[in-house]
Amino acid sequence: MKILKCPINGPRPIQEFIFGGEYRPMPDPNNTSNETWADYVFNRAGEPGIKREWWYHLASGTWFIAEHDTVKDVFIKTYLLQNITEDE
């Protein structure tokens, strides 16, 4: 069982967490073509690599971002959303 580091509670077994999907900022709904919007809603990038993912620590109710190398299944780092850098 993997260990995931919650930015608030420290390293905890992965069964205390829920995966919340990839972190994907929503495009501006008012300035987006139907195609782009449908792509945002329905398509997910499946190719392996370093992903930014939402994770939720169930026991404490903490949402945070984990950078996850899905090739090696290694969590590179975790942080609260406020510490995200947009240009990554």
């Binding site: 929503m26 709904p29 809603v41 949402w63 959303l81």
Partner: protein
């Protein structure tokens, strides 16, 4: 005890304690510490089992975990590995996989039929004609399988526990022990485990002729004992590796899930067999197996042995065998150049003939193939002799094979270690381990004893540095072994086959050849087609051999070859070790015991236990439910709604949050009022609904569906972060209880118990008030879910019983009765209210479910709005409609999920249906095509039995269409 030797230094048996046991009904005696196999061999018993497919006699072979020749059962216990299992007083075991007795197994004829049962035979032969398959299956099942399961066996609980340590060391051999001693100096908390009941690994049975191996072992063990931070755990197997150094340790009575900071794998090597005709006869052993038999159990494996060697270990064996009085007939060396070290001279000095560049062409079987009588040797360079005389024939009763090794790398491979075939050493080597895993000793390709100790030492230092207890030093790992310890192709062909590469599954060389011919020519395909490596020992001897043959047949080298994926468990463990206790969470509402006292029939609703209905003697389930419904319509009922999701939302940005999350408008919701809220996901699909109540400017209280409460709360939490809102969410789902008091008498019953003025002018429909109910602080809201005058009462869970009792007492004269989930479902169905996730599914849009009124498309934004804008003007595919059956139609009753069909095509399905006591007929909700959704249309419904019945589309609500009942001044 004819074959027991004099006392060996460091032997594992206690000669002062005799143990009596039975095998196949006969009595035998062994010593305390003997395994079943060693005790039987000491008693001169050489047939310990029968092979899986051909039922050939089998004896001790690897004397380890690498074959399952000796597989026993005892009473209801099966899969007893006789090589590894210690004898116990009074134990009675028998071999598995025999018909009749082991000695006269009635299935032994299968060996003579082997020519007719080639690889893949079962797949090809037994599928036609189809009607005979049950017969085939029955016959095959009788023959196949190892052991019989007694279905009446009581469940034995295997203890599960959790362990923690800094460094886990797998293998208590020279490398493992020296790693522990080195690492212990840092203060690290260390656990060493070993599968055997005694520590030492190769030190406990090898190097006997090289001087004081036992002395070295004792020195190491002294040092280990002196360290309080080292725990030595024996008879324990590391059976599985999971992410982040979570290792499954198993022994006879326990499974430990151990979390380590670092894992040192010093698990050594499995000796690999050579392949020749009849290489499975009892008396043919791996040299290491024979040495363990001699040095651990003081049992003589054979009297006259021919050694087949391809490394120095084989020569050392010759010296060891000679020392205990075994007549070494000859040493056959597969290498043309022979042994270059001093060992060659030492062996020859004992008068042992060494045949260089020779191989064993076949073993000559004794009577019933139960023993070895001799060997036939051939020269590698003149492979096919001109005449029979040029073959060398030697008499012997045993063959010891020392032709190669493969790392015991199960844990390494499960831990994603990159293993590559090393063409210099002719074996796999770990190339790159994941962070925190270290390999040391033979498993790492380090063979010389001195180097193994040093390799372990380095691994220990690397592990302590990794976990931050020491500074990274500049330890340099000793070099890997220079000369090959394994022969690249210890395999000989024979026209009569029976040259086994997998003893578990009776796979022969020709089976591999045929599989490859049939196109199964990759390691993974070959394994599945030929069943190679699929027996209890999981290919520990067979995988590498098969890979060599495969490469040979394809004209390739071993470079870059990979064996099949390694998965837990490294060795079979019992189902009891895996069986867990059932930890299904169960949630009870605060009123659970009141329901129980009222004779509730409970049902599961997600994790919750809820009253389905309240049982009354003499009434059927349906009658009970109908009575409950009628009591609400005519008098007063009360239902426990404690399972509703309940969230308090406070803060300056509450309105922003609600406006963005729900499809309706909440900015202008007046304080003290409530409004229905519908929630969609980004694609516009309905995901939840509830009641939004405004308690103050910036204080809201919302309810969610019971099943959606956790997800809605989590989603709101995430959105608050994502949108950077100043909002505080408090999940009060469990801290508050809720009940709905509904029926024309609701006001009369409740008013005396509360300080809230229930006068309709002061407290109108859809209002919410805070006050007390039976001295418990409560929130009261007027809702219309069941379509009668009603008050939803939310109050702290610890006050729920007080309030419930007071209401029940006060309601007695008005005929109050509790009602369950089923009655509530019917009451709301009569009102045409949908239940999200019952009347909606994973694709339902608000327009389809008649919820357009709740969706304000002209708002600036809500989740799902953009998608709904795209879909809004497109053709609907289905519409939720209400339908009724004629009053005289009662059965067969349509069910939820029965299909709505038209001209043979599916148009929709029933989502809710039931007999309405109020309307006196069957009513329901169903999806249908838009063109059939008009009031008055006819729906054709396909029942469970396939018959079609007709229902009429009507306007909803079915009952009280003007919604007057919920506003009456009762």
């Amino acid at each position: 005890m004819s074959e027991r030797l004099d006392k060996r230094q460091g032997e594992w048996i206690d000669r002062s304690r005799s143990i009596h046991f039975q095998f196949e009904g006969d009595d035998y005696t062994g010593f305390h510490g003997d395994t079943i196999s060693s005790a039987l061999w000491a008693n001169g018993v050489h047939i310990l089992g029968r092979s899986f497919k051909y039922h050939r006699p089998r004896g001790i072979f690897g004397f380890d975990d690498i074959d399952c020749n000796a597989m026993m059962e005892s009473g209801s216990t099966t899969n007893i590995r006789a090589d590894l299992t210690l004898i116990e007083e009074g134990m009675s075991v028998k071999a598995v996989n025999t018909l009749g007795s082991l000695k006269k197994d009635r299935l032994r004829f299968l060996d003579y039929f082997s020519a007719f049962t080639p690889v893949g035979f079962y797949y090809k032969a037994f599928h036609t004609p189809k009607r005979l398959f049950p017969f085939y299956e029955n016959q095959i099942r009788k023959i196949a399988g190892l052991g019989k399961i007694d279905a009446q066996t009581p469940m034995k609980t295997v203890i599960k526990d959790y362990g923690f340590c800094d460094i886990l060391i797998i293998g208590a051999g020279p490398a493992g022990l020296s790693a522990a001693i080195e690492a212990a100096a840092s203060g690290a908390n260390i656990i060493i485990i070993d599968q055997t009941p005694h520590p030492g690994g190769t030190l406990s049975y090898r190097y006997k002729n090289k001087g004081p191996a036992i002395d070295l072992l004792n020195q190491l063990l002294e040092k280990v004992k002196a360290c309080n931070n080292i725990k030595l755990q024996l008879s324990t197997l590391a059976s599985g590796y999971y992410a982040d150094h979570w290792v499954c340790l198993t022994n006879k009575e326990r499974m430990t899930k151990l979390r380590a900071q670092s894992v040192i794998v010093a698990s050594g090597c499995y000796e690999q067999p050579a392949v020749f005709h009849n290489n499975d006869l009892p008396g043919i052993m791996l040299a290491s197996g024979a040495l363990r038999l001699i040095n651990h159990y003081a049992v003589k494996p054979f009297q006259h042995v021919v050694i087949l060697a391809a490394n120095a270990d084989g020569y050392r064996c010759a010296l060891d065998f000679h020392e205990v009085g075994i007549h070494v007939v000859a040493l056959v060396d597969l290498r043309r150049e022979g042994e270059q070290s001093e060992l060659d001279k030492q062996v020859k000095g004992l008068g042992i003939t060494v045949y260089r560049g020779h191989f064993i062409y076949e073993a000559i079987a004794g009577k019933m193939k139960a023993s070895v009588q001799g060997v036939v040797l051939r020269n590698l360079d003149t492979d096919i002799p001109v005449n029979k005389e040029s073959e060398i024939k030697l008499n012997c009763d045993g063959i010891a094979m020392s032709v190669g090794w493969t790392p015991a790398d199960g844990i390494l491979r499960q831990g994603s270690t990159r293993m590559e075939y090393d063409t210099r050493l002719e074996q796999f080597l770990p190339i790159e381990c994941v962070k925190g895993i270290f390999a040391a000793g033979r498993v790492n390709g380090v063979y010389a004893l001195k180097d193994q100790l040093e390799d372990g030492c380095c691994a220990g230092a690397e592990a302590t540095a990794l976990i931050g207890l020491t500074k990274p030093g500049n330890n340099k790992r000793p070099p890997k072994e220079e000369s090959p310890q394994s022969h690249p192709y210890p395999i000989s062909d024979h026209p009569r086959g029976k040259n086994f590469i997998d003893l578990d599954e009776d796979v022969q060389v020709k089976d591999i050849v045929n599989s490859v011919k049939e196109g199964f020519d990759s390691a993974e395909l070959l394994k599945r087609y030929s069943t190679l490596g699929m027996g209890p020992s999981q290919g520990k001897h067979a995988n590498l051999l098969a890979l060599r043959i495969l490469a040979h047949l394809r004209g390739e080298t071993m470079r870059g070859k990979q064996i099949t994926t390694a998965r837990p468990f490294t060795s079979p463990i019992s189902m009891g070790h895996l069986a867990g206790r059932i930890f299904t969470p169960l949630r009870r509402t605060a009123l659970h015991h009141r329901h129980k006292a009222l004779n509730a029939k409970f049902m599961y609703a997600g994790d919750w236990l809820r009253p389905e209905y309240y049982m009354t003697d003499g009434l059927s389930r349906n009658q009970c439910i109908e009575t409950e419904v009628q009591n609400v319509r005519n008098r007063i009922g009360i239902v426990d709604q404690g399972t509703l999701g309940k969230i308090e939302i406070n803060g300056p940005d509450v309105v922003t949050l609600l406006e963005k999350v729900y499809t309706g408008r909440f900015a202008k919701l007046k304080i003290g009022m409530t409004r229905y809220g519908l929630m969609c996901d980004e694609s516009g699909v309905i995901i939840d609904d509830g009641v939004i109540s405004r308690l103050a400017d910036d204080r809201y209280y919302i309810s969610t569906t019971s099943s959606g409460s956790a997800a809605v709360y989590q989603t709101l939490q995430r959105l608050v972060i994502e949108w950077g809102l100043e909002v505080i969410l408090v999940n009060t789902t469990s801290t508050y209880c809720a009940m709905n008091l509904a029926g024309p008498h609701a006001r009369k019953v409740l008013q005396p118990l509360t300080d809230v003025n229930l006068d309709p002018d002061a407290f109108p429909y859809l209002g919410i008030r805070e006050g007390i109910v039976a001295n418990v602080p409560a929130r009261l809201s007027r809702v219309g879910f069941v379509g009668e005058l009603g008050y939803e009462i939310h109050l702290p869970a610890d006050g729920a019983i007080t309030a419930w009792d007071a209401i029940m007492t006060a309601g007695q004269t008005h005929g109050i009765c509790p009602f369950g989930v089923e009655a509530q479902r019917m009451l709301r169905l009569e009102k045409g209210h949908i239940i999200v996730s019952q009347d909606t599914d994973g694709l339902t849009l608000p327009f389809e479910a008649g919820m357009k009124w709740a969706v304000k498309m002209d708002k600036p934004f809500f989740i799902g709005q953009r998608s709904l804008k795209i879909i809004e003007n497109k053709q609907r595919e289905r519409i939720l409609v209400g339908f009724i059956f004629p009053k005289n139609y009662l059965s067969p009753k349509p069910k939820e999920c029965n299909l709505v069909v038209k001209n043979g095509e599916i148009k929709g399905r029933i989502t809710s249906v039931g007999f309405s006591p109020t309307m006196g007929q069957l009513i329901g909700l169903a999806y249908t095509a838009p063109e059939d959704s008009d009031v008055g249309s006819t729906l054709s419904i396909k029942l469970d039995d396939g018959s079609l019945v007709e229902a009429k589309v009507v306007k909803i609500p079915f009952y009280d269409p003007k919604n007057l009942r919920q506003k009456i001044n009762g």
